[in-house]
């Protein structure tokens, strides 16, 4: 009896592990891909960040991160990512609310496609788009001037921190719409009906039902936006030539410049610093996501 049970159990285990490996075998290309392009680079990056130019082990690469201009760059990068993520999250959720409540299904799917395109725009083309539109001789600048508003009359310039915030919002808001819409669509009519039947007015319904349900989704989306804004590189580089110090740009000059040689290990250390910040953001994302999923499963 006892023996039989053990035998059964181990047979079950064997069968299960066998079935897992056959089921996941189509994923092997994916694992190889992730291994090559994510895991291996991260490991070698971390190793290199602890090496000096003579291949010796050292902590020296990390010391400059703790003060001075490199530390400042982290502050500016985090500030930029937070501001653009916040703008994206707030405006994006407002748009989602409008879309979910007033747009028909056809219009919504058109909007989805548009948002997907905008959310994935980035790099030098995005910077150029804004330069061509809002630069000193941009199309919109000229148009606004023709109707009497010279946006360059005051202190405004596209090529500044404010300008970069403006440009980043262009992909942050659509991204927020894409990731936050399912959450708002998931609000069930029954809940609002039930609340009203139980005597709630719309304010209490929002305060006690909608906001608590949506907060985890909102936060997870915010962290996702933060991670995107934190790591963006080419757009800001093309627009500021280093006058706005951002960590990815500094890494770029250290590992891929024509001026500073043999400081790639410092760049590696900065990159590891970025991984840590992004890791914190992504943990926030995952925790919030898990809470948000509770409602979806229900």
């Amino acid at each position: 009896m006892k023996n039989g049970a053990v035998a059964n159990q181990s047979e079950g285990t064997i069968r299960r592990s066998f079935s897992i490996s056959t089921k996941s075998s189509p994923l092997f290309p994916f694992f190889i891909f992730v291994g090559f392009f994510l895991i291996w680079p991260i490991i070698s990056l971390i190793i290199r960040s602890f090496k000096g130019n003579e291949n010796e082990w050292t902590f020296a690469n990390y010391l400059p991160l703790l003060h001075g201009s490199y530390f400042h760059a982290f502050v500016v990068s985090i500030k930029l990512a937070s501001i653009t993520a916040l703008i994206g999250a707030i405006l994006g959720s407002f748009f989602v609310y409008v879309i979910v409540n007033s747009a028909g299904p056809k219009f919504t799917s058109v909007l989805d496609s548009i948002c997907a395109v905008f959310a994935n725009s980035g790099g030098v083309p995005l910077a150029f788009m804004f330069i061509a539109a809002f630069g000193t001789e941009g199309l919109f600048t000229k148009f606004l001037k023709s109707v009497g508003w010279d946006i360059y009359a005051g202190n405004f310039t596209l090529f500044s921190f404010t300008g970069v915030v403006l440009v980043y919002s262009f992909f942050q808001i659509p991204l927020m719409i894409l990731v936050f819409k399912p959450a708002l669509q998931g609000l069930r009519k029954e809940w609002s009906e039930a609340s009203i039947n139980l005597g709630a007015n719309s304010i209490t319904y929002w305060r006690h039902v909608v906001i608590p349900i949506l907060t985890p989704s909102f936060l997870s989306a915010f962290f996702l936006l933060f991670a995107g804004g934190f790591s963006a590189y080419a757009t800001a580089r093309a627009m500021t030539v280093g006058t706005v110090p951002l960590v990815p740009i500094i890494i770029g000059t250290l590992v891929d410049g024509n001026v500073i040689s043999n400081q790639t290990n410092l760049g590696d250390a900065l990159a590891v610093g970025m991984i840590v910040v992004a890791g914190v953001a992504m943990s926030g994302y995952l925790i919030a996501q898990r809470r948000a999923n509770r409602w979806r499963a229900a």
């Binding site: 001075g68 201009s69 400042h72 760059a73 500016v76 150029f128 330069i131 061509a132 630069g135 000193t136 001789e137 941009g138 360059y152 202190n155 310039t157 596209l158 090529f159 500044s160 921190f161 580089r237 093309a238 627009m239 500021t240 030539v241 280093g242 006058t243 706005v244 110090p245 740009i249 500094i250 770029g252 000059t253 590992v255 891929d256 410049g257 024509n258 001026v259 500073i260 040689s261 043999n262 790639t264």
Partner: protein, 397 residues
């Protein structure tokens, strides 16, 4: 008297014949990865023959309109029948070094053209090879054993769109409110050599010395505060969009930029500023120790350092059946091709003395009596340290 003439002639014949006779038997076992000058490689005929046998040359990060490299590559290819592959034309010096270290054997560059610090810091990656014009390269810009040597340098010029009301002539001019929202730089000075030298030039124009670039940084700060400086990357695209009108640029990017601007209907002019002539430290040429086409690499380097005036691609006919040294002697050397691209080849002073240099393109002449200043590598390091902290601060509100 007579005897000495005869012996002179005999000696001359001997000198001319010797390399050939020596080359022929030794050719079979010349190790082109190791031979450290033309003689050791068996002479020009043998070198060309071996290079043609290899048939290929890998170069790296050479934009066609940079110092007229396009012409140099076309001419070399056509004259010797060697196919050139230019990897990542817009890449950086750091990329070149990285490729030597990590590319698969056949993709390693045969020759690199990098910022001087990259040569000094990575000398162990390069083979020893002294070009025939070695003696004309100034001592401070070459490695004694021939691992790397300066090839050409640039001077900082003002490039401007001729549609603007006032043509700038100096750094001081650009402070004028007429240039509001117009002035741009070619990159981040902590990452781009051209931008770093622009700061040195602004510094010099503002009364600073190469020892301390603070005055140059302050110049940009003031220009930013007055709204004249637009921190957009100075490149063809942004010029086309009208994002800037005046930029600081290497003079050797001039002919290419002028031509590509003309294609989009813009007229650009280059002028060497009257209040500061900064001549950059030269870029350097080096042959990686693991060059996959070692003979072609050495021929390419000899070609780039040749001071010949000869033919350009458009004038060159078929070279079939000609000996290597004949072909080499008939085409323009790289040093003059660089002059034609408004660059300043490293042996230019020696060439001028010997009457071998051609004239620079019109409009790119250095003003007569201008004092050329070149910051030393140490001064550049000091400037970078200062810029690292101060450049990001120039735009803070």
């Amino acid at each position: 008297m007579r005897k000495s003439i005869i012996s002179g002639v005999v000696a001359a014949i001997a000198v001319a014949v010797l390399p050939v006779t020596m080359a022929t038997p030794s050719n079979a076992y010349t190790n082109f990865s190791k031979c450290s000058d033309l003689k050791a490689c068996g002479g020009m005929d043998a070198l060309v023959k071996a290079a043609q046998k290899e048939g290929k040359l890998n170069v790296i990060t050479l934009p066609r309109d940079w110092a007229n490299y396009g012409e140099a590559m076309d001419l070399f290819s056509k004259a010797f029948g060697i196919k050139i592959t230019d990897d990542n034309p817009d890449g950086s010096s750091a990329y070149e070094i990285q490729t030597i270290k990590s590319a698969p054997d056949s993709k390693v560059p045969d020759a690199v053209d990098v910022g001087i610090t990259y040569g000094v810091d990575n000398a162990n990656l390069f083979a020893k090879y002294k070009v025939a014009t070695w003696a004309d390269i100034p001592a401070q810009y070459k490695d004694v054993s021939g691992r790397w040597y300066g090839d050409y340098n640039g001077q900082i010029a003002l490039a401007y769109d001729t549609s603007i009301a006032k043509a700038p002539k100096s750094f001081a001019d650009l402070k004028d409110p007429a240039f509001k929202n117009m002035v741009a730089i070619g990159g981040d000075p902590t990452g781009a050599q051209e931008a770093l030298m622009s700061v040195f030039a602004a510094n010099l124009a503002s009364g600073g010395t190469t020892k301390n670039v603070q005055a140059g940084i302050d110049y940009f700060k003031a220009l930013k505060a007055s709204g004249n400086f637009v921190p957009v990357l100075a490149n063809g695209q942004n010029l086309a969009a009208g994002a800037y009108k005046v930029s600081f640029s290497w003079d050797f990017n001039g002919p290419g930029s002028i031509a590509s601007a003309a294609k989009i209907g813009k007229t650009i002019k280059y002028v060497i500023p009257t209040d500061a002539v900064i001549k950059g430290t030269p870029y350097i040429m080096a042959i990686p120790f693991n060059a996959p086409h070692p003979a072609a690499a050495r021929l390419w380097t000899e070609f780039l350092f040749s001071q010949n005036k000869g033919m350009l691609t458009k004038d060159l006919g078929s070279t079939a059946g000609l000996t290597g040294s004949k072909i080499f002697a008939s085409i323009m050397g790289g040093q003059n091709i660089w002059i034609s691209g408004a660059a300043h080849p490293i042996t230019e002073p020696a060439m001028r003395a010997k009457g071998l240099a051609i004239d620079p393109p019109a409009g790119f002449e250095t003003p007569a009596g201008a004092k050329l200043v070149t910051p030393t590598p140490d001064e550049q390091t000091a400037a970078k340290a200062l810029l690292k902290d101060q450049w990001p601060a120039i735009s803070s509100k």
